[in-house]
């Protein structure tokens, strides 16, 4: 008897969990293909693609926003790696004094309410002419992802065995050669993980783009916001589905690219 009760309990918990995860998503998918769905009905009255046509028609700016989102996310990854690699090296390897203080410093943009942070960034960017530019939006996104990229990079470089670098130097490689042939390839899995984080954070970023980019630069989350505010659930759902595409593609690419290196690391 207790066995059956146990099974029922577990089944119930799993069902709730599934509802929490898949409920919103299935609702979103339903809305994306809905033509008419009025209140008391449990399911849409009619299905169709007319809203898809509206999203993809040339004067709708969905495709432009999607492109903007992807370009900005890619640039954000580059900018944050360009910053995280040296920072991670210094924090992960070097005998930097007050290491912990520096690491915590990167948490600061996350620690304050993002509205307050972005409002003030927008004000500063406005005075130096960065408002409404790609660069401005990329910088804001990179700041949001900073804590992840730097912390993960520091951990990745910290995990590289010093003796592996010494062995390379011993074979005649100068410091730069050692870095590019041994240190960087060994830290790559970690750096790729941080790239995934930053890419996803950037794709999803809203407040920063809202303050710094609007009205010149529109990204998918902004489009989604506008559509939801107008009560247009179809447009919002379709936009959200579109937003999934680059995230999933990016993760697949990275995952393929990672595999052999990660496996080699596990075996080490």
């Amino acid at each position: 008897m207790p066995g059956i009760i146990r099974s029922i309990m577990i089944g119930l918990v799993l069902a709730l969990l599934a509802l929490a995860i898949f409920g919103p998503i299935s609702n979103m998918i339903l809305w994306a293909f809905t033509e008419q769905w009025y209140f008391p009905a449990k399911l849409p009255q009619s299905y169709g693609f007319s809203f898809w046509e509206r999203v993809f028609r040339p004067q709708g700016n969905a495709m432009v926003s999607l492109l903007n989102s992807v370009v900005i996310a890619g640039m954000t990854v580059l900018v944050s790696l360009a910053f995280a690699i040296p920072a991670g090296l210094a924090l992960g390897r070097g005998r930097l004094p007050y290491r912990v203080v520096f690491l915590l410093l990167f948490l600061l943009p996350q620690a304050f309410p993002s509205l307050a942070v972005h409002m003030n960034i927008a004000r500063i960017f406005y005075t130096i002419g960065l408002n409404g530019t790609f660069l401005g939006v990329v910088l804001v996104h990179a700041l949001q992802g900073m804590v992840f990229s730097v912390w993960i990079a520091a951990a990745a470089f910290g995990a590289v065995d010093r003796e592996l670098e010494e062995a390379a130097a011993n074979m005649g490689a100068g410091p730069l050669r050692v870095f590019f042939t041994v240190t960087l390839p060994l830290a790559l899995p970690g750096l790729m993980a941080s790239a995934i984080f930053v890419f996803l954070i950037s794709l999803d970023e809203f407040t920063g783009t809202y303050f710094v980019g609007v009205p010149d630069i529109t990204t998918m989350p902004l489009l989604l916001f506008t559509a939801s505010m107008e009560g247009n659930y179809q447009i919002a759902s379709i936009t959200a589905l579109l937003l999934l595409v680059p995230s999933v593609l990016f993760m697949l690419v990275i995952e393929r690219f990672l595999k052999s290196d990660v496996l080699a690391k596990v075996g080490h």
Binding site: E166, A168, A169, M171, G172, G267
Partner: protein, 374 residues
């Protein structure tokens, strides 16, 4: 095929080894000197073993040779050129790390060929050299494997091959065999020694295993607290230890308190009050010993149990307290009053039996009771 490769190798490497001369070397971390005032001359093509307990500075010395520990004072001369301030990548001393330090993101061939690639050799030449070296160390057709797919012994061979591939004038081995099982270790000892002889490499081995040091090296350097306690051939350090530290480190574990008096004889006062006389001339006495308290040190295999008395030897009467079988002999623990000594015998003596332990005078070493202060 392998014979040819070896032959070509030998021709290519004629005069490969370089002479090393260390002059008044001071090394250390933070404020303390790990090595202070060490001088050592190594001939070209010589195999030197640095032997010592952990913390004696042997690894620090090896890492300083490779350029990973800064030299505070003194010189490292390689064929007369001072390298003490040269960065590691320009020293040309190939080191084999205790952890092997193989790059997991490269294949075996890429690991071995790394140094050659750095030297800008063409791909075909690198491939040929990698195959040759892989054959030399017995890696055969494993060159396409990833490092993670190798066994401990195979990794060890890759590490050796990587160091040998660049034709180094000096080979540095940091406890190369400590991660292997006993069987593989014995084979590798022999193989490394044979390769070293064939290639004429100047080789410096760091180890804490005296058998490893003695079976591989031309000369053994025993380090004690950052100083050289003794340099000598394996036979010299084994049979003629320079001080009590070396004697103990080389396995002479039995120590008896003695009282030195007069010029000719040595009087040993035993715990039960009896005295024994020993002829001084037959004992090994490397350091001056002043009259007064001293100690006699000898190996357990020098003790003869219940044998006929030899002239001039030391005879001690005791009881067997324990015995252990070591494979070729039984090691007995003999209690003589409060003293204890270990004696090896081919025949097992029953526990509790009264035995006569005879030690020939020539097997005894006499040292001052307290070790000489460096």
């Amino acid at each position: 095929m392998i014979q040819q490769a070896i032959h070509a190798q030998r021709q290519a490497s004629a005069g490969l080894g370089a002479a090393i001369s260390l002059k008044d070397l001071h090394l250390g971390y933070d404020r303390t000197d790990v090595i202070s005032g060490l001088s050592l001359d190594v001939q070209a093509g010589e195999f030197i073993a640095l032997l010592g307990a952990s913390g004696c500075g042997k690894t620090t010395l090896l890492r300083a040779l490779a350029g990973f520990v800064p030299v505070r004072q003194g010189q490292i001369l390689l064929d007369g050129t001072d390298l003490s301030q040269t960065p590691p990548e320009a020293r040309g001393m190939a080191m084999m790390f205790q952890s092997y330090a193989l790059w997991p993101h490269m294949t075996v061939a890429q690991n071995i060929g790394y140094g050659l690639k750095l030297r800008g050799q063409p791909k075909a030449q690198i491939a040929a050299r990698v195959a040759e070296i892989a054959g030399l160390v017995g890696l055969g057709d494993l060159t396409g494997r990833r490092i993670a797919a190798l066994s401990g012994g195979q990794k060890q061979r890759v590490a050796l091959a990587r160091s040998l591939a660049v034709d180094p004038p000096v080979l540095l081995l940091d406890e190369p065999l400590s991660n292997l099982d006993a069987g593989t270790r014995a084979t590798m000892r022999h193989e490394i020694r044979a390769l070293q002889q064939r290639l004429g490499l100047t080789t410096i081995l760091v180890t804490h295993d005296r058998e490893e040091a003695m079976s591989m090296a031309d000369r053994v350097v025993i380090l004690n607290r950052g100083r050289i306690a003794q340099i000598g051939t394996p036979e010299q350090v084994y049979h003629r230890p320079a001080d009590s530290y070396v004697a103990r480190f080389m396995g002479a574990t039995n120590s008896l308190p003695a009282e030195l008096s007069g010029k000719e004889g040595i009087t040993l006062t035993l715990p039960d009050g009896t005295r024994a006389q020993l002829p001084r001339a037959q004992l090994h006495i490397p350091e001056p010993v002043a009259p007064g308290p001293a100690k006699l040190i000898f190996r357990s295999d020098a003790v003869k149990l219940g044998a006929e008395q030899e002239d001039g030897g030391l005879i001690l009467r005791g009881k067997v307290a324990q015995h252990a079988y070591l494979g070729s002999v039984y090691r007995h623990e003999i209690r003589i009053g409060a003293l204890r000594l270990m004696a090896d015998a081919a025949r097992k003596m029953p526990i509790g039996a009264d035995v006569d332990a005879c030690i020939p005078a020539t097997a005894l070493s006499l040292f001052p009771a307290s070790p000489r202060q460096p």
